[in-house]
């Protein structure tokens, strides 16, 4: 399988990486290990760790940070940016539609079963249009690259995509450790993300809110694996970080307990799942939510970001239809392509998948984090047979995709510098305007030849640069 190396084309260096060639060539071995240790110490000091589920070991393990940046030229980025924004607009149009008249289903462009029988479809918000017609305010689009001009979307994250703290901290640490690099290269800043996020959230305040909206971040608490990120974003935006018990419903509004008495809350950036938001509407045993919240929400007393029900747009079975959404709602051709996907629930697709398991990647429809997936070319015979059985028993629960030759970026490893596979998650903000900071989270599979970049499976992170034109 030929792999696209983002830095080298044969023996020549691709333009965006030109200046990094000298940087790495002239870096003494001792300095490198010194800097790597420094970076790790910095990450530890900030306390940015990511719990790893189902693997045992240290739940506060650091995600390894790789100092070799991943670089995009301005031209490369501008195409990505247009593609990502287009996708974010289409996904939101889809959400407004399926909670309204469902035109795309009536038109026969997507099977109603995939939408209406989807567990992420919330009947409770049927007929409701959130402020500015936005359901998903932060769209994390996972992108892989296979060639100079070939980008594919692996999946969309319309609920509460995490990882943006790594984008921010990676940049800060790189700037602190290698200030010269940032003088020599014209790198677009990402540190205005929090300000843009705050503006986005404020822009979707409910109509009943007069004056400057009060925004809060709702976290499940410090035991959540992304708690660090919740507190970092609250800090950077200058808003309160609250748990369910800090908020309460009184009459037609939601209030926050403060030392100066109750304060009305207009926008809740929630980092908890729909099911836990309100025990009077969803799971009655939820201790994390706010009783009565959904009644206030539905009557326009508070905004919830992402809007309850947004998850139906990022389901892996619905994903197949995103290019159709772009055509249907925007009348445009999709700029970013989907990875060809086989729905194992379809008889013909299943046949193809079962016949080609060793070449394919198989994923659970509702899975995430790289769990419960099969990477055919890397799997043992036993693993393949195990998946064959699972697929036969419950085909509708799986999709399959070709194993893509993910691009590589030079990465510091034991033996020096070597190519490792990467993906990219940019964070698109959708409110009154659609914005994208130039950058994102680059995840890198640190094991040689590995294609699984998930932090739960031994992936690391890199700083992502976009060069100014």
């Amino acid at each position: 399988m030929s792999q696209f190396n983002e830095m080298y084309q044969g023996s020549s260096v691709r333009m965006p990486y030109a200046r990094l060639q000298d940087w790495v060539a002239t870096m003494p071995e001792e300095l490198r290990s010194l800097k790597q240790a420094e970076a790790e110490a910095l990450f530890r000091r900030i306390g940015i760790t990511f719990a790893v589920y189902g693997e045992g070991g240290d739940p506060d393990r650091l995600i390894p940070f790789d100092m070799f940046p991943r670089v995009f030229s301005g031209a490369e980025w501008s195409k990505l940016e247009r593609g990502i924004k287009q996708r974010a607009r289409a996904l939101n149009a889809f959400l407004v539609d399926v909670y309204g008249r469902g035109e795309i289903i009536r038109a026969g462009r997507i099977p109603g079963r995939l939408v209406y029988q989807n567990e992420a479809y919330e009947k409770a918000v049927s007929g409701f249009v959130p402020p500015k017609g936005v359901y998903s305010h932060i769209v994390g689009v996972d992108i892989v690259r296979t060639g100079p001009d070939e980008f594919y979307v692996l999946e969309d994250n319309c609920r509460t995509p995490s990882g943006v703290s790594y984008m921010l901290e990676s940049r800060e640490i790189m700037m602190r450790m290698f200030p010269d690099l940032f003088r020599e290269n014209r790198i677009e800043p990402v540190d205005n993300y929090s300000e843009k996020l705050r503006r986005t959230l404020a822009s979707v305040a409910p109509a009943k809110c007069k004056g400057e909206p009060t925004v809060v971040i709702l976290t499940p608490g410090h035991f959540n694996s992304a708690y660090y990120e919740h507190s970092l974003l609250a800090d950077l935006m200058g808003v309160e970080l609250v748990e369910g018990q800090d908020l309460f419903v009184d009459g037609e509004y939601v209030y926050m307990r403060t030392t100066e008495g109750p304060q009305r809350v207009d926008v809740i950036y929630r980092r908890i799942d729909d099911a836990y938001l309100d025990p009077l509407c969803f799971r009655p045993d939820s201790m994390l939510g706010i009783p009565g919240l959904m009644d206030v929400y539905r009557s326009g007393g508070v905004s919830i970001c992402s809007a309850p029900g947004a998850g139906v747009a990022d389901d892996k079975a619905v994903y197949t239809y995103v290019p159709d959404m772009v055509r249907f709602y925007l009348g445009e051709e999709p700029i970013l392509q989907n990875v060809p996907t086989w729905q194992c629930g379809r008889e013909d697709d299943l046949k193809h998948v079962l016949a080609n398991l060793p070449e394919l990647v198989v994923k659970e429809v509702h899975g995430s984090g790289g769990y419960g997936m099969l990477v055919g070319p890397k799997a043992s015979k036993d693993d393949i047979e195990r998946f064959r059985l699972k697929l036969t028993e419950d085909p509708g629960n799986y999709i399959a995709q070709p194993t893509l030759a993910l691009s590589t970026v030079p990465t510091f490893v034991e033996e020096g510098v070597a190519p490792r596979h990467v993906d990219l998650r940019p964070y698109c903000l959708v409110g009154e305007r659609i914005e994208l900071v130039p950058g994102g989270l680059t995840r890198v599979a640190l094991k040689e030849g590995s294609l699984v970049v998930n932090s739960s499976q031994g992936g690391g992170v890199k700083d992502t640069w976009v060069l100014a034109e």
Partner: protein
């Protein structure tokens, strides 16, 4: 038929609670077979909160009660004109796609016995099949109060062969969904006329979606379709989702609840 409703729900806490929040589906919506004449819901020491009409056409009203309180009383009084439409929910304003109600929930989960019961029913069209399914559930589960509880599942009730209206509705829904018919739970009131039968005044039944006709009510507990004796309050995926009152108390002890419902025919 003109019916009056007097429905009191009293919550008592063994220690005063800090606050209570409730979400009500306690106001009937108007449609061809049901017209609201007057209707009032009061909550002792309650502050009326947000109100909206949800996608299923139900009026949802929030309430908050500031503590400390040891007792909360929800009082529903009203008058409704009803008409017998043979269970057909005509002229009801709603937006939820019927296919949404093909999803199963914990109490309506299908098992082998339910699937077997459902597969034996037959009819020349969906409406006839729906009637057959409802009859099958009536035959399989005898009306008997006290043997099941609020969290009994359809599968458990069928295994027992006994249950109340909630169990009948859940069982019918599970059977209907397994035959590809969207089904939902309906809560409401039933006027017990002088037919000598025992009825539950606070009642529940199921609605099945028949293409071309729309939603049609079936009451397997009484072997009939809802008629002029029925007042429809609201619907949902199951009993919990359609509950007329959902509430939560903060910072208190054990809760006791008692309910009285009186439905009477009024002079027109």
């Amino acid at each position: 038929m003109r019916l009056t409703v007097d429905h009191v729900t009293r919550y008592r806490y063994d220690a005063p609670v800090r606050s209570v929040v409730q979400s009500h589906r306690l106001t009937p919506s108007s449609f061809s077979g049901q017209k609201l004449i007057d209707w009032e819901v009061t909550v002792s020491a309650g502050i009326k909160g947000a109100r909206h009409r949800d996608g299923a056409g139900d009026v949802v009203q929030g309430w908050t009660i500031a503590g400390p309180v040891a007792e909360v009383t929800v009082h529903v009084r009203g008058t409704v004109d009803t008409e017998d439409l043979a269970g057909v929910l005509r002229g009801h304003r709603e937006t939820v796609a019927p296919d949404c109600y093909l999803r199963e929930t914990l109490p309506t989960r299908i098992d082998v016995a339910l699937a077997d019961l459902a597969s034996k029913a037959s009819g020349p069209d969906t409406l006839a099949l729906a009637h057959a399914l409802s009859a099958a559930v009536s035959d399989a589960i005898a009306y008997r109060p006290g043997v099941t509880h609020a969290h009994t599942t359809a599968a458990e009730a069928l295994a027992l062969g006994e249950g109340v209206c909630q169990d009948h509705a859940h069982a019918l829904m599970a059977c209907a969904r397994s035959r590809g018919i969207p089904a939902r739970y309906v809560s409401g009131y039933l006027f017990a006329d002088a037919d000598g039968q025992a009825h539950e005044a606070a009642h529940a039944w199921a609605e099945l979606h028949v293409a071309g006709l729309g939603w049609v009510g079936f009451d397997p507990a009484n072997r009939c379709c809802p008629d002029a004796r029925y007042i429809r309050l609201g619907s949902g995926f199951d009993a919990q989702d359609a509950a007329p009152i959902r509430g939560i108390a903060r910072g208190g002890g054990h809760e006791d609840m008692d309910v009285t419902v009186a439905i009477q025919q009024a002079a027109q």
